[in-house]
C-alpha cells in the first residue's frame, strides 16, 4: 500500500466532486426559484417594490449563475489530473460530460463577458425546463462519480 499519484488524483477528485455536488444543488435551487417566483404572494402585492426577501433571492440566483464557469474549470482540472495519472477508464467516463461542457460553452449566446445564461431568454419556459433538467442530471452524475472516486481511491491504495 503506497500513496501514488493516482490515489492523490482520486482524493482530490473526491473533494472537488463534493464541491460540484454543492454547485449542482445550488443551480437547481436557483432555477426553481426563477420558475416559482410568481407563486410567492408577497412579491405579487407590489410588482415594483423589491422586498428584502426578493433582493436576497436575486442575489442567490446571480451567484448560482456565476458558478457555471468555476464548475467547468474544476471538472476540466481533474480530467487533466486523471490524464496525467493515466487513469484511462475514469477519464473515459468523464469524457461525455467534458464534451458536453465544451459544446455548451461554444453554443452560448453572443456575450462579451464570460457566462452562459442570457437574462433576456432565461425566462423562456423551454430554456428554463432544460436548465432544470440539466441541473438534475448533473447532480446524479456527480453523486455517482463521487462514489466511484471513493471506490477508485480505495482500490488504488489497496492494489499498489
Amino acid at each position: 500500500m503506497a500513496f501514488t499519484f493516482a490515489a492523490f488524483c482520486y482524493m482530490l477528485a473526491l473533494l472537488l466532486t463534493a464541491a460540484l455536488i454543492f454547485f449542482a444543488i445550488w443551480h437547481i435551487i436557483a432555477f426553481d426559484e426563477l420558475k416559482t417566483d410568481y407563486k410567492n404572494p408577497i412579491d405579487q402585492c407590489n410588482t415594483l417594490n423589491p422586498t428584502v426577501d426578493r433582493v436576497k433571492k436575486i442575489k442567490r440566483v446571480r451567484l448560482a449563475l456565476k458558478l457555471v464557469l468555476p464548475e467547468y474549470l474544476i471538472h476540466v482540472f481533474f480530467c487533466v489530473m486523471f490524464l496525467c495519472a493515466a487513469e484511462w477508464l475514469t477519464l473515459g467516463l468523464n469524457m461525455p460530460l467534458l464534451a458536453y461542457h465544451i459544446w455548451r460553452y461554444m453554443s452560448r449566446p453572443v456575450m462579451s463577458g464570460p457566462g452562459l445564461y442570457d437574462p433576456t431568454t432565461i425566462m423562456n419556459a423551454d430554456i428554463l425546463a432544460y436548465c432544470q433538467k440539466e441541473g438534475w442530471c448533473k447532480l446524479a452524475f456527480y453523486l455517482l462519480s463521487f462514489f466511484y472516486y471513493l471506490y477508485g481511491m480505495i482500490y488504488v491504495l489497496v492494489s499498489s
Binding site: L34, K35, D37, Y38, P41, D43, Q44, C45, N46, T47, L48, N49, P109, V110, M111, S112, P119, T120, M123, N124, A125, D126
Partner: protein, 878 residues
C-alpha cells in the same frame, strides 16, 4: 363536388355583438384619444349585409380575364378552375360565401335546429366552422369582407361583457381541457394582446381600495362569482374573498348593496387610478431625449429638416404636463450636448470628444422643462438643420452617444428617440458590415440574423432597469446591421422604424412616410415605468412571450415605455387538467405612469369556454391569431436555429394540423385536402407568411429589410400584422351603392375582397390594395376614362404621373364615393396616420412592391397557392 344549391334558411346570428366598453362611472373621467373603435361599424351594420357573392363577378367586370402581366401562372388543376355558376345568394346571414357542397348538410342542421327552437344559433355556428372544405377544389375561400374573429361559445351575458377581440385574443376560442388534447389538435395555444390600444371609451375608476384576490392578486372582473353579498370567488384561483365595505356602494347608481353592479364587474376593460401602494417612487414626469445623428451621411439625407420641422409643429402636442422635460444630444465622431437653461439668450453647445469615457458636461441644464425653455428649444430646432451643413465628419459614435443618453436619463427614466443613418463606426458598440450582397437571394441559409455584439442588449437592459425606453429610427441606404442595433429597442420596450434609402428630395414616398410616422410618434399616448402581468386560470401557464420588453419573472414584463401601437404575443401551455372548470380566464394588468404623472392600472380580462372534444377545439380556432403566433414562433426559430428550419416548421404546422383533423374526422371523404371551415385559410396565411420579407428565400432581400420585417412581425398588433401578411385587395373603379354601408349620411360602398392573385386584375379596372401601413392603387391600361377623370383628376391614362401619393378631392359623386371608402379603410386601422398611397401603373417602379403582395401567385422561387396545397397534401400522405 355538389353544385346543387338550396335556399338556406338558417337563423341569422350576429357576428357583431356590442363589444365596446360601456362607460358609466360617475366618479370617473374618460380618457383615451378619439380614434373610432373599429367594431362600431360592424355593430351598426348588424346582420343586414346583403351579400354580393364573391362567386358572381361584380357588375361591369368583363368576363374575359386580361392577359397575365408578365407573370407565370401555374397550370391549373381542372377541378380547381371549375368555378360554380354565378348565383345570387339569398342568405343574408352568411354574407353569401356559402360554397357548394354545404347546403344539403346545413339544411339538415337547419331542420334540426329549428326543431330545437331558439337554441339553434350556437350549434349552427359550430357546424359552420367545422364544415369540411376541400381546399383543392374550392377556389373562393376568402370571405367577402375581412372576417371578424370567431365568437367564443359563451352565454349571452358573458359574451356581452367579454374583452374586445381587438385588445385581447386567444388562438383557440375553445380552450382544450388537457395538454394531451391540445397536442392532438396540433394547434398553438396563445394570446395576442394589444393592451395600450387607443380606446374611445374606457371606464376609469378611482377608489381607495382596488379589490383583488387575496391569494393570486387578480383584479376583480366580470367573470368572478358572488357567493352572497359579502363574498366573491376568484375565477383564476377559486379562492373565496370578502367584499370590502367600499365596494358595496355603487357610484353609478348611487345605491348600496349591489357589488355586482359596480363598473369593475360590468366591464372587462377598466382602468384604475392607483394609490401610492403601487409606486416605488413618486410618478415620474414625461421626459423626452432626442439623440440625433449629424454626420455627413445624415446631413446628406436631409432627415434633420424633416425631423426639426415635425417636432416644431408638434411641440405643443407632446403628451405631458407642466413637468415635461426635453433634451437634445447630437453626435458624429464626438457627442454634442445642448444647454437650454432658461435665461440663456441662445442654446449653448457643449462638445465631449472623449468618446472612450463619455461624461455629462453639466447635470442640471441639459434636460430642461419644456414650458420654461420653450423659446430656446424652438431656437435650437430652427438652427439645427443649418448647423452641420458643411460637416466633413463621416464617423458615427452611436455607442458612446447612447451611453451618454443613459447617464443623462438614469435619475428619472423616460424616452430616448435615436435617429441613426449609418453603421456605428467609433467607440463602444462599433459594428462591422456583415452582409454579403451576393447572398441576398440565396436559397440557402441566411446568416447574421442575430446580433453581432451584446453591447446594445446590455445597454438596453440597463436602460430598462432605469425605466428608459429607447426608440430607434434607422434612415439609411447602406447596410447598418439592424440585427444588432434593434436590440437596444427590443429589450427596453421601444419601437423600431426603418426607412431604407431615405432621402428628403429623391425619395418622396419615404419622406412622407417618415413625416407621418413622426407625427403619430410624437403625439401618441405614452406610459412610463410600466409593468404588465398576465394571469390565467389555475392549470394554465405561460410558456414564452413575444414582443419588445424584458421578462422579469414568469408572468411579468417590464416595459420602460408603453405605446399604443405595440402588440404582444404569449404562448401558453396547459400544465394541469382543466376538467373541473367550464371557463378559462386570462387577465392582463398594465401598471403605468401616464404622461400627466398619474399612476394607472389598465386591466383586461378575457373569458373563454373549456372543451373536451377535439372537434370543438377545431371549431373555435381563430386562424388570424394562430397565424400571428406562428409567425412569432417562426422568427424566434429562425434566429435561434436557422431560417430554413423556421420555414419547415411553418409548413409542418399546416401539415400536422390538417393530418390531425383528418385522423379525427372519420366521416369525411378520404381524397382531397380537407380542412375545417374555421381553418380553411390556414394554408393561405402560412404561404403568405413564407413570402414575407422576413421569411422568404430565393428572392433578393436586403438583410436590414429582412430583420426589420422580423421586428415588425414580433412587435406589431394583430390587425397590423394581418394587413401586412395578407393585404386586402378591392376593385374600386366600379363600386356601386348596392350593399353599401350608410354611416352618418355618408355612403360607403363595400366592394368584395379579392384573392391576391394577378388573375383577379384586369386591364379595365383599378384596384386598391390595403397593406395596413401603405396602400397601393393599381390602374390598368384600359381603365375606363371616367374613373381616371372623375377620381384621379387626369384626362386619360397616359397623363397619369408616376408618383402620385394622394387622391385629389374632386366634387364628383364618383370621387366622393371612392374617398369615402378609402377613409373608411383608414379608420379601421389603429394607427391612423401611417398611411400612404402609391399609384402603380403598368410601367411604374412600385410595380414590384405591389406584385410581391400577390401571394397566391407563383414567383421564381416560391410556390403558388395551388402548388403549396399539393405540397401540403404530399407531405400529409408521407
Amino acid at each position: 363536388p355538389l353544385i346543387c344549391k338550396f335556399p338556406l334558411t338558417a337563423p341569422s346570428f350576429d357576428f357583431a355583438s356590442d363589444r365596446r366598453c360601456t362607460s358609466g362611472d360617475s366618479s370617473s373621467t374618460t380618457t383615451g384619444s378619439a380614434s373610432p373603435v373599429p367594431n362600431s361599424y360592424e355593430s351598426l351594420e348588424g346582420g343586414s349585409y346583403s351579400g354580393t357573392s364573391l362567386q358572381s363577378p361584380p357588375a361591369g367586370v368583363p368576363a374575359k380575364l386580361a392577359p397575365p402581366f408578365g407573370y407565370n401562372y401555374p397550370t391549373m388543376h381542372p377541378a380547381y378552375q371549375q368555378n360554380p355558376a354565378p348565383k345570387p345568394d339569398p342568405s343574408p346571414s352568411h354574407g353569401g360565401y356559402n360554397p357548394p357542397g354545404y347546403q344539403p348538410y346545413s339544411q339538415v342542421l337547419t331542420l334540426l335546429s329549428s326543431a330545437l327552437g331558439g337554441l339553434g344559433g350556437v350549434s349552427e355556428l359550430e357546424a359552420e366552422t367545422l364544415r369540411p372544405v376541400n381546399l383543392l377544389q374550392e377556389r373562393n375561400i376568402l370571405p367577402p369582407k375581412r372576417a371578424p374573429p370567431p365568437e367564443p361559445n359563451l352565454s349571452n351575458d358573458l359574451r356581452k361583457v367579454n374583452c374586445s377581440p381587438d385588445t385581447f385574443r386567444c388562438t383557440l376560442t375553445n380552450i382544450p381541457q388537457t395538454q394531451a388534447l391540445l397536442n392532438k389538435a396540433r394547434l398553438p395555444l396563445g394570446l395576442l394582446l394589444h393592451p395600450f390600444r387607443d380606446l374611445t371609451q374606457l371606464p376609469v375608476i378611482t377608489s381607495n381600495t382596488i379589490v383583488r384576490c387575496r391569494s393570486c392578486r387578480t383584479y376583480i372582473n366580470p367573470f368572478v362569482s358572488f357567493l352572497d353579498q359579502r363574498r366573491w370567488k376568484c375565477n383564476l384561483c377559486y379562492r373565496v374573498n370578502d367584499v370590502p365595505d367600499e365596494f358595496m356602494y355603487n357610484p353609478v347608481t348611487r345605491s348600496y348593496g349591489e357589488p355586482h353592479k359596480r363598473p369593475e364587474v360590468q366591464n372587462s376593460t377598466v382602468e384604475f387610478i392607483a394609490s401610492s401602494d403601487y409606486m416605488l417612487r413618486p410618478p415620474q414626469p414625461a421626459l423626452y431625449l432626442f439623440l440625433l445623428d449629424v454626420s455627413h451621411n445624415a446631413v446628406e439625407s436631409g432627415y434633420l429638416n424633416v425631423f426639426c420641422q415635425s417636432l416644431l409643429d408638434n411641440l405643443e402636442k407632446l403628451p405631458g404636463d407642466t413637468r415635461t422635460h426635453i433634451g437634445f444630444v447630437t453626435f458624429d465622431s464626438t457627442v454634442h450636448f445642448y444647454n437650454l437653461q432658461e435665461g440663456l439668450s441662445q442654446p449653448q453647445m457643449l462638445v465631449v470628444s472623449d468618446i472612450d469615457d463619455v461624461f455629462i458636461p453639466t447635470h442640471d441644464s441639459l434636460l430642461v422643462n419644456l414650458k420654461e425653455s420653450k423659446e430656446l428649444v424652438k431656437d435650437l430646432l430652427n438652427a439645427l438643420p443649418g448647423m452641420f451643413t458643411h460637416t466633413r465628419e463621416t464617423q458615427s459614435a452611436l455607442g458612446p452617444a447612447l451611453q451618454a443618453a443613459y447617464k443623462l436619463m438614469s435619475p428619472t427614466g423616460g424616452r430616448v428617440s435615436v435617429f441613426q443613418t449609418q453603421l456605428p463606426t467609433l467607440g463602444a458598440g462599433l459594428l462591422q458590415s456583415r452582409e454579403d450582397p451576393n447572398l441576398r437571394s440565396s436559397t440557402k441559409n441566411v446568416q447574421h440574423l442575430g446580433p453581432a455584439t451584446d453591447f446594445y442588449k446590455k445597454l438596453a437592459l440597463d436602460c430598462s432597469g432605469q425605466q428608459i425606453g429607447v426608440d430607434l429610427f434607422l434612415l439609411s441606404s447602406q447596410y447598418s446591421d439592424l440585427a444588432s442595433l434593434a436590440c437596444v429597442s427590443k429589450y427596453s420596450a421601444g419601437s423600431v422604424f426603418y426607412y431604407p434609402s431615405f432621402h428628403h428630395i429623391h425619395n418622396t414616398a419615404q419622406r412622407q412616410k417618415f413625416q407621418k410616422d413622426l407625427q403619430r410618434y410624437l403625439t401618441r399616448k405614452i406610459g412610463f415605468e410600466a409593468v404588465m402581468r398576465i394571469r390565467c386560470t389555475k392549470g394554465l401557464s405561460i410558456h414564452t412571450f413575444h414582443g419588445n420588453f424584458f421578462v422579469r419573472s414568469t408572468d411579468l414584463l417590464s416595459l420602460a415605455n408603453v405605446n399604443p401601437d405595440s402588440g404582444f404575443a404569449v404562448q401558453m401551455s396547459i400544465e394541469e387538467s382543466l376538467a373541473d372548470t367550464s371557463l378559462a380566464c386570462f387577465q392582463a394588468a398594465l401598471l403605468y405612469t401616464s404622461s400627466k404623472g398619474k399612476r394607472r392600472i389598465r386591466v383586461h380580462t378575457l373569458c373563454l369556454p373549456v372543451v373536451s372534444q377535439l372537434s370543438e377545439v377545431f371549431a373555435g380556432a381563430d386562424i388570424q391569431a394562430i397565424s400571428c403566433l406562428l409567425a412569432n414562433m417562426a422568427i424566434d426559430r429562425s434566429i435561434s436555429s436557422s431560417l430554413s428550419d423556421a420555414r419547415d416548421a411553418l409548413v409542418n404546422a399546416v401539415v400536422d394540423c390538417l393530418t390531425a383533423y383528418r385522423a379525427n374526422g372519420s366521416n369525411i371523404q378520404p381524397s382531397g385536402l380537407i380542412a375545417p371551415a374555421a381553418l380553411r385559410l390556414f394554408p393561405l396565411y402560412v404561404l403568405a407568411l413564407l413570402k414575407q420579407k422576413a421569411l422568404r428565400t430565393g428572392t433578393s432581400t436586403r438583410l436590414d429589410e429582412r430583420v426589420f420585417s422580423m421586428c415588425e412581425l414580433k412587435s406589431q398588433p394583430l390587425q397590423q400584422i394581418m394587413h401586412m401578411v395578407h393585404p386586402d385587395l378591392y376593385r374600386i373603379d366600379n363600386m356601386t351603392e348596392q350593399a353599401a354601408l350608410h354611416l352618418n349620411d355618408s355612403v360607403i360602398p363595400q366592394p368584395p375582397l379579392l384573392q391576391l392573385t394577378a388573375e383577379k386584375l384586369t386591364r379595365e379596372g383599378a384596384f386598391l390594395m390595403d397593406c395596413g401601413s401603405v396602400m397601393y392603387l393599381w390602374v390598368g391600361k384600359c381603365c375606363n376614362e371616367t374613373f381616371i377623370r372623375d377620381v384621379l383628376g387626369f384626362p386619360n391614362y397616359a397623363s397619369l404621373p408616376s408618383n402620385m401619393t394622394e387622391i385629389p378631392e374632386l366634387q364628383t359623386t364618383y370621387s366622393e364615393r371612392t374617398r369615402a371608402f378609402i377613409s373608411w379603410l383608414y379608420d379601421f386601422m389603429l394607427t391612423l396616420t401611417l398611411m400612404q398611397l402609391f399609384f402603380s401603373r403598368d410601367d411604374a417602379s412600385t410595380k414590384t412592391s405591389f406584385f410581391q403582395h400577390l401571394v397566391e401567385d407563383r414567383t421564381e422561387s416560391a410556390f403558388s397557392y395551388y402548388e403549396f396545397l399539393l405540397h401540403v397534401q404530399q407531405q400529409m400522405s408521407k
